[in-house]
Symmetry: C2
Subunit: 332 residues, 2 copies
Amino acid sequence: MAVTIDQIAEQAGVSASTVARVLRGDVKGVQERSARKSREILRISAELGYQPNWRARALSRGKTHTIGLLYSNPRWIFEDPMNEIATSFTETLQEENYDIRLVPVTETSDWKELVLGGAVDGLAFLLHVPEPAQAIVLEGRLPTILMGEKFGGLQHVVTDDISGGRLAARHLLGLGHKRIALYVNETIRDHVSVHERRQGFEQAMREAGYDSKAEVWRCNVDDVMQRLLARDAPTAIICYCHVEALELMHACWSHGVSVPTDLSLIAFNDIAATRYTTPPLTVIRFDTAELGAIGARRLAARIASPEEATDENTVVRQQLVLRGTTAPPTKR
Amino acid sequence: MAVTIDQIAEQAGVSASTVARVLRGDVKGVQERSARKSREILRISAELGYQPNWRARALSRGKTHTIGLLYSNPRWIFEDPMNEIATSFTETLQEENYDIRLVPVTETSDWKELVLGGAVDGLAFLLHVPEPAQAIVLEGRLPTILMGEKFGGLQHVVTDDISGGRLAARHLLGLGHKRIALYVNETIRDHVSVHERRQGFEQAMREAGYDSKAEVWRCNVDDVMQRLLARDAPTAIICYCHVEALELMHACWSHGVSVPTDLSLIAFNDIAATRYTTPPLTVIRFDTAELGAIGARRLAARIASPEEATDENTVVRQQLVLRGTTAPPTKR
DNA sequence: ACATAAATTGACACCGCTGTCAAAAAGGCC
DNA sequence: GGCCTTTTTGACAGCGGTGTCAATTTATGT
């Protein structure tokens, strides 16, 4: 059906090897006769609309020039802020001439065949390594990069969550808040970032001498509202991520708690929606594009030359973005 | 390096063909000796950790069991509400045993090789068919599905934007609004949905006898605010999509225009962020999951049996979700 | 013109699996 | 046991390229 190298060879009256070489641009073209022949071959292949067969090439070269993005739930990779990371990851990888294959990892899917069978040249993970894949990834058969998570000595690019937590707390302390809580929704998995944000938060509170007033709430939004309405409640909340913050903003609005007058709020992850709340959310942000791009380049480099691979990990810094949900506490 | 069928064959003392057959489960296993041999082969291949070579299989079978999701800008496919469609599309395709390859389409990228070279078995487009791909797609060499857009006779799954526009307008008319504008940001490409939403809107206005008061504003948010502050301005705005609405909500907030007291707002696309504005946005929504799933199943069916392929297109209906940004107009 | 070096070319094995086909083995029946 | 049918098996030719190597052709130097 499709045009092959042999058809071109036949038409041009040369061998398939020659056609392959010419198409690959692997002829010096010094000799007159040869140069003419090359031009002829190029003409014919263009005329026939030749397209190299990707499958044959992959088998022969032993490479697919494809990166597998492994995930267990598509919702996670398409969701904020992962989608921003994924965007820049794919964009950068495209510059490096790689394509992305989305590989859903479940107990039943054929992901093993794809990964171990050579459908991809490297692996990438966003925010977490799915359970079923962990053992195999650790065997290190393929170049791997983890973005936003640390796992068993594999190369990673992460955010600086300890200083993120510290930044949030210090900002609130600077405004005069004395009692601050960190709200982590109870459904959140036990991710390194939970631990680190907490660590930074507690560190800052300790430095300020408010050690005992650093509370970590692992509950749901209703519990938070209830605790907030109690006597001597915190005057500021740091939300583990944007989800908690958006929920809480909404809950405050319906309970008549005014932000930032009655309560200061600060969230992690600067997703688009945080700019559209009323007032816009003060957040701790990191450069998602940078994280994705670094991950992409690291992985590409690793695939290109596995020997020279460095085990360097990168930490992307977090920064404070002042918007409208934090203010000095009101005396009450 | 990796274990091949020949290695297993050698160890088991049989031919490669036999191994292949056994692994494929293509033996009756009636004869005692044969059954024993099969078990032995399976044992050995498990012991050696055999994984079929995906590349070789693809070449040999002439199929990759992969769908190419073509896009010209990653931002678009990872963005709301496309990500919801993409999520359900990939999930459904996974059930049908296909994987997704993200194929960025630019002038320079090697997408032609991937698509025409047989790296994918079918093509999918979200909301638009990138320019460089249009000619080739129309040749119809590969099964194709378009989601959320119509293009040159290709099979598609779209939303019912005409009735969507009508729903929005009728709701506002029902509340007593007489002068309504449709705001389409000037940067929006000329997409069928722009035309159709407008059509539905104008249709409803005509039915209500307000034909001349159906304005379509193709401008930016500053222009909108300016026009709104004029005498005899519209009391309600239908936003072409969520982006316009979020921007406008924000602009209203900073200009002291209160929604919905001073202005009623209704938007298309029920993305997550619309639920977190204050007040939450009234929207016209469609079932993104349904659209993605239908697209996936159609494409899979087409690939499985190109002959029986129906040219049926599907229209996913739009519906009104009442939230807080619409109210009867205030006399002023 | 002749030897030598450089460029070009075609044959061929290979990548690892699939699918066909004819030969070999096993089973069934008289 | 002999004959026929059904299973099972291995050889082999692809799939469409890649890459090596030796043979052939052309260019260069004297």
